[in-house]
């Protein structure tokens, strides 16, 4: 039992009597942790900003105009197709989704705020759930739901009136909407969102000169709720065969097609991986130097009968403790620092991505230390005699 505990005894004694040195490495690991967690949180925040509305949709499939390259802004489906979509076997409900960018005019000289104005059909797929206030109730009311990010940035409250400036034809028009509900975060294309009934959207959206006088109504995509989500592939084939000029995809596929989303996520993941690699090198370098400085000492330990497993286990204990301490300090620092960021900074500490980052960080210590452990095990006890 004593021999089993000996690696812990040796490792802890050495760490305690060389606190400064080990703390310094832990602080380096803490800085790497801070960086990795922020890169992960930034990736999550930027990803969320791009995909949030789509990811939270209460729908199973999305219908795009065929050959629109799955670009929501490029997809235009005549409103007359909604009936055709509803008639396809297996489709339980359909909601049209129409998007455009508008500018909110804020009071008291505050800077205006660009938002995504999303036209949805009350009570149908596409309309987000409110966390305060009420859902949209009519197709034409000047009611609006606002994303909580709009609230955080503008301090607009439930019941307030929004003023929007849009360009229709060649002139600027001002419209007012009443905030009747607040949704959770629902960003789309990295800007916060407001939701209005489809017909309100169609009336107040920015329009070209031709669109001002055109009676035709279009939406960008349709959100489909299926009777049985397991039949998604069959329903997709039916829609593409029966409803002219459409392309149907799942929500994950639609998210991948958001412009720049995949490239952005790949870039951020690459940054994270490289930061972890730097961590491996830093930790590996430190422990290797430490072992090189202790060659004679390890030789003495082995000469007096300390086995290789004990020497290796003591190194592993030190590496794990140093790493855990560093990751703990870094994680706490990241948490405290994140509280000081304004809501406009796209930093989101998502449990899953943070857990993956922390697990990766906890692994870099042992991985970085492998070389030094191998070196320590190979030190000959004869080194104690200077041979």
């Amino acid at each position: 039992m004593q021999r089993f505990l000996l690696p812990f005894y040796l490792a802890l004694k050495e760490m305690w009597r060389n606190k400064g040195r080990f703390l310094l490495v832990s602080l380096v690991i803490a800085l790497i942790t801070l960086l990795v967690l922020f890169v992960a949180a930034l990736g999550e925040g930027l990803g969320n900003g791009n995909r949030e509305y789509l990811a939270k949709l209460n729908a199973d499939l999305l219908v795009y105009q065929a050959k629109s390259d799955l670009l929501i802004s490029a997809s235009r489906i005549p409103r007359s197709q909604l009936g055709n979509l509803r008639r396809v076997a297996g489709v339980a409900d359909v909601g049209s989704i129409a998007t455009s960018n508008v500018t909110l005019i804020l009071p008291l000289g505050a800077a205006s705020l660009k938002v995504s104005m999303i036209g949805v059909e009350p009570g149908r797929p596409g309309e987000p759930r409110v966390v305060a206030g009420r859902q949209l109730t009519t197709l034409e009311a000047k009611d609006a739901l606002v994303d909580r990010n709009v609230m955080l940035r503008t301090h607009i409250q439930l019941g307030d009136t929004l003023t929007m400036r849009v360009t229709q034809g060649t002139s600027d028009q001002f419209y007012t909407l009443r905030v009747v509900g607040i949704t959770d975060s629902q960003q789309y294309s990295l800007v916060p969102s407001i939701f209005v009934p489809y017909f309100t959207w169609d009336r107040v959206r920015p329009k070209s000169e031709a669109e001002v006088t055109s009676p035709s109504q279009v939406f960008n995509i349709a959100a489909l709720k299926l009777a049985n989500p397991a039949d998604a592939d069959t329903v997709r084939q039916h829609i593409e065969a029966e409803v002219l000029n459409t392309q149907v995809v799942t929500i994950p596929k639609a998210i991948e097609a958001v412009p720049g989303y995949t490239a952005q996520q790949n870039t951020i993941q690459t940054q994270g991986v490289f930061t972890l690699l730097i961590g491996v090198l830093v930790i590996g370098g430190f422990f290797q130097i430490q072992v090189l400085q202790k060659v004679a000492q390890i030789g003495v330990l082995k000469a007096i009968g300390t086995s290789n497993p004990i020497v290796a286990a003591a190194s592993v204990v030190q590496i794990i403790l140093t790493t855990v301490l560093g990751v703990g300090i870094g994680g706490l620092g990241a948490l405290l620092l994140s509280l000081s960021f304004p809501p406009t900074v796209p930093i989101v500490f998502n449990g899953q991505s943070s857990a993956v980052a922390v697990a990766a960080l906890l692994l870099i210590g042992p991985i970085g230390g492998l070389v030094s452990i191998r070196y320590a095990v190979r030190i000959e006890p004869l080194r104690a005699l200077g041979l």
Partner: protein
């Protein structure tokens, strides 16, 4: 008459190098009894450190046998050698003797922990041994807070605390001034005798053999002479031994 603790028979160690085969130890045989303190002397390159490494189960001989407490060392595998060093051998080295992050007491107790024998009685015995070596006030000190002589005395305590059959000392006085060197060797000798352990000290400083019971002199890997009588040993220690080879007086 005490029992034979260590016996070597025709120990040979050869190395291959670019210059050919080097005979580091050549057909060396001797015995050491329990309670006997033996010095292994010789000039630099005479093979005494290689011999010590073989006795400590750190090196395997090319030929020959070694028996420690009746156990043939040449037949042990690596794990058994580690166990033998831990259980049956006590060791002091020339330098870097102690674990720097353990106090004097912890360094001594380390041998008990390695042997699963650390308990209250062991703790008290380690304290007594250190006090006996004049380190009662230094038990909590780290090696860096002690002089070279004090560190050597801690190493002696560590080498003896687990009651090994054989105690080996590699140039224990190399980094000490004369007065401290005599003190360390004298203490070492008295503990060897008192505890009835077999002790072997490698030294190039012939003055230090004054406290040993027998001197084995090596040259070019061979055991060339054995000094057994008190007068012979004292003569050697005082530099009066006319028959000694000029090179045998150390470096």
């Amino acid at each position: 008459m005490s029992t034979v603790a260590l016996e070597t028979h025709s120990i040979t160690k050869t190395y291959k190098s670019d210059l050919g085969v080097i005979q580091a130890v050549d057909d060396v045989s001797f015995q050491v009894r329990a309670g006997e303190f033996v010095a292994l002397v010789g000039p630099s390159g005479s093979g005494k450190t290689t011999m010590l490494s073989i006795l400590a189960a750190l090196l395997s001989p090319t030929a020959g046998q070694i028996w420690l407490d009746g156990q043939d060392l040449s037949k042990l595998n690596e794990a058994q050698r580690v166990r033998l060093r831990r259980d049956k051998i006590g060791f002091t080295f020339q330098a870097n003797n102690l674990v720097p992050y353990l106090s004097a007491l912890e360094n001594v107790e380390l041998m008990l922990r390695l042997n699963n024998r650390m308990d209250k009685a062991g703790h008290l015995r380690a304290q007594e041994l250190l006090a006996r070596l004049g380190l009662g006030e230094r038990m909590r000190n780290l090696p860096s807070q002690m002089s070279g002589g004090q560190q050597q005395r801690v190493a002696i305590a560590r080498a003896l605390i687990h009651n090994p059959s054989l105690v080996l000392a590699d140039e224990p006085t190399a980094s000490l001034d004369t007065e401290r060197a005599f003190q360390v060797v004298k203490t070492f000798a008295s503990l060897i005798h008192e505890n009835q352990r077999a002790g072997i000290m490698v030294t190039h400083d012939l003055r230090m053999v004054e406290f040993v019971d027998r001197v084995l002199q090596m040259r070019d890997g061979k055991l060339v002479k054995t000094y057994t009588t008190r007068n012979e040993i004292l003569d050697l220690a005082r530099g009066n031994h006319h028959k000694a080879h000029p090179l045998d007086h150390g470096v």
